[in-house]
């Protein structure tokens, strides 16, 4: 236990989190392993963003502690934290009359000092971040003129320029259409693969979360309801408890990851939702093939098509 607290990129230790008189989590324990992509999911108001803010030092636990690479956050200065951890909030303000490059440059803030001018290293990191997010062509455009997807990539470039090993993203795909959501999440995976960054994000789309995360953490009523690999976590039982949702879980034919198919809340589906075997063999398969459930249909993971249970 102590060992993993010290090696984890981020760890909540018996943390009590909340606002003024309203406690969201009490005695929460959670470790985030370095170099992984972890996604926090749960119903609106379950505390996903609260936990992310606490990880990002935007919210101080009233009891317990949050550790960043083994050191309690409260012992670190804002600057020291910002060099090791970057956070992209849900709704940053878009500044006026600012080019993409100017915006990304602001990510170098924690590395700069009052009397130390802009260095070649700062410039290199900014250009690398712009390049990695595919913003090179748009670098001199005013951020006010960007589309939603381009703007989100500009924000991610800013966070990348911060050059921190741990990155927190609060709903990075909100307001984006599906192809731009995919673009952002692929970018997240690329960043993780290329820099070994630890990434913790909040997402609402369960299937996308399952597809692009190493680990999912389901939060419900101030505790961790389920925690593990996507197949361990995305189950009809968990979905019913966390979201009050009747749903089938099938294998995504493209990725082999769990895919959530919500059911209409009519009595007719009661049986189906509670009977996994019937569900997976059902017409949810796009090609209607009868080989559903065979290992060979899930290329990337080789897991049998099944309904998992939290272990």
């Amino acid at each position: 236990m102590t060992h993993s607290v010290l090696t984890a990129a981020l760890a909540a230790e018996a943390a009590t989190l909340g606002y003024d008189d309203h406690v969201v989590f009490s005695g929460l324990d959670l470790h985030i392993e370095p170099g992984t992509v972890t996604t926090l999911i749960g119903a609106n108001g379950c505390g996903k963003s609260t936990l992310l803010k606490a990880f990002g030092r935007l919210l101080t636990p009233s009891a317990g502690s949050i550790r960043l690479e083994g050191t309690p956050l409260r012992r670190l200065s804002a600057r020291a934290v910002a060099r090791r951890l970057a956070i992209l909030p849900q709704k940053p303000l878009t500044p006026g009359a600012t080019t993409v490059r100017d915006l990304v440059m602001r990510g170098r803030h924690p590395h700069q000092r009052l009397l130390r001018p802009w260095t070649a290293e700062d410039a290199a990191k900014v250009e690398a971040a712009i390049d990695a997010t595919g913003m090179t062509e748009l670098a001199d455009r005013d951020v006010g003129s960007l589309s939603g997807g381009q703007l989100q990539r500009a924000w991610i470039a800013l966070v990348l320029a911060q050059d921190a090993p741990t990155i927190l993203l609060d709903e990075p795909t909100t307001f984006l259409d599906l192809s731009h959501q995919l673009e952002v999440l692929r970018l997240v995976r690329t960043i993780n693969a290329r820099h070994g960054s630890t990434i913790v994000m909040v997402l609402h789309d369960l299937s996308l979360a399952a597809r692009y995360s190493d680990r999912l953490v389901v939060l419900h009523q101030g505790r961790v309801l389920a925690d593990g690999e996507p197949w361990q976590v995305i189950t009809p039982e968990v979905l019913a408890t966390a979201f009050g949702l009747d749903a089938l879980v099938i294998a995504d034919p493209a990725s082999g990851r769990p895919l959530v198919v919500p059911l209409e809340p009519t009595g007719a589906h009661e049986g189906a939702a509670r009977a996994p075997a019937a569900a997976v063999g059902g017409p949810a398969r796009p090609d209607g093939a009868s080989d559903a459930g065979r290992p060979g249909t899930e290329p990337s993971r080789g897991l049998p098509l099944r309904v998992g249970y939290p272990s």
Binding site: S77, A78, P89, P95, G96, A97, R106, A139, D140
Partner: protein, 338 residues
């Protein structure tokens, strides 16, 4: 393609800097040459090079100090406006928002009420004290909300304190003749006849304020991304706020003490600067300061010329010309938001 766009941006920036420089030179020369006693530019240059060759001592005796005064006051107001708008996240915030102008005015009126008469240097001193006391009072009240990171309590406290001080000013002015006289002279911002004996302390205060504004530039860059992202970038909010507030108070207090309450510049110079140099505060602060200086001095020259012997105070010129100019700017270009 990307590189040509980059060059285009650079060219625009160079042109902007160049034209600001030219405008500044023109305004300075005009301020030295024009007035109720016009002097040719050649004579101005002669007098500047050789002070003994100064016709009636006008250039060195009154034009140079007045020009320097205008540059300083305008620069301070332009800078204070940028810091105020960046700190509050409100593009309509004016540096007078924190009760600085009301505090200065009340001190001047009170001085006249108690002493019966104010010399200009006494008024300058009183205005400085009044401005500082009022803004410290506003901060103290805002601190009661225990949330210095939030600009809203500050703005509310500032508005409330200003309203209270203005009520007291009205009472004194309406009941006391010498207060009315002092207020009448004071309330119209002007560069003429202001005592220059008080200039050194005001200069010192202004210099500290401008230095703090520059120190605050990096914080302003991150604060305009929202407080959460600013914190994520390693900003300590209360410290960034405190430095910014001190910068606003000191620059505005010295400007108000030197020239009386001058509106408009603190509000508009930042917008014009943003349209020219963009939203990066390292460029925005000096650009807005320069635009403030050019505007104030330019309007002062206009006031001297159109008034003939009885010149029109710069505060009045600004209110009229500035208002028209701002409407024109708003109509022509979509002004950048913060």
């Amino acid at each position: 393609m990307a590189s040509s766009a980059l060059t285009a941006v650079r060219v625009v920036r160079v042109n902007a800097t160049l034209s600001l420089g030219v405008a500044l030179l023109v305004v300075i020369l005009a301020s030295l040459a024009l007035g109720s006693n016009p002097i040719s530019p050649a004579q101005v240059v002669q007098a500047l090079v050789d002070p003994t060759n100064d016709p009636d001592g006008v250039v060195w005796g009154s034009r140079v100090p007045r020009t320097l005064l205008g540059l300083l006051v305008g620069f301070c107001l332009g800078v204070a406006g940028v810091v105020m708008q960046g700190q509050t996240g409100n593009p309509l915030a004016d540096p007078g928002l924190f009760g600085v102008s009301s505090g200065a005015s009340l001190a001047v009126v009170l001085g006249a009420f108690v002493l019966g008469h104010n010399s200009m240097s006494a008024a300058l001193f009183l205005a400085m004290i009044g401005a500082l006391v009022a803004s410290v009072g506003v901060f103290a009240i805002a601190t009661l909300s225990r949330d210095l990171a939030n600009p809203v309590p500050l703005a509310i406290a500032g508005t409330a304190v200003s309203a209270l001080l203005n009520a007291v000013i009205s009472f004194l002015v309406l009941t006391n003749q010498s207060s009315l006289e002092a207020y009448r002279v004071w309330v119209v911002g002007s560069l003429s006849g202001r005592g220059l004996d008080g200039l050194p302390p005001a200069l010192l205060v202004a210099a500290v304020g401008l230095a703090l504004a520059l120190v605050n530039a990096r914080s302003l860059n991150s604060l305009t991304l929202g407080t959460e992202l600013a914190q994520g970038l390693g900003e300590t909010l209360w410290r960034a706020r405190l430095v910014g507030l001190a910068a606003i108070t000191l620059t505005t207090a010295s400007a108000v003490a030197l020239a009386g309450p001058i509106g408009f510049i603190g509000l508009t110079a930042p917008h014009i600067a943003r349209a020219i140099v963009g939203g990066n505060h390292f460029r925005l602060l000096p650009a807005s300061g320069l635009i403030g200086a050019i505007t104030l001095l330019g309007c002062d020259v206009v006031g001297r010329v159109i008034g003939g012997q009885a010149e029109v105070p710069v505060g009045v010129v600004l209110a009229v010309l500035g208002g028209v100019a701002f409407v024109a700017i708003v109509r022509r270009t979509k002004l950048a938001a913060l």
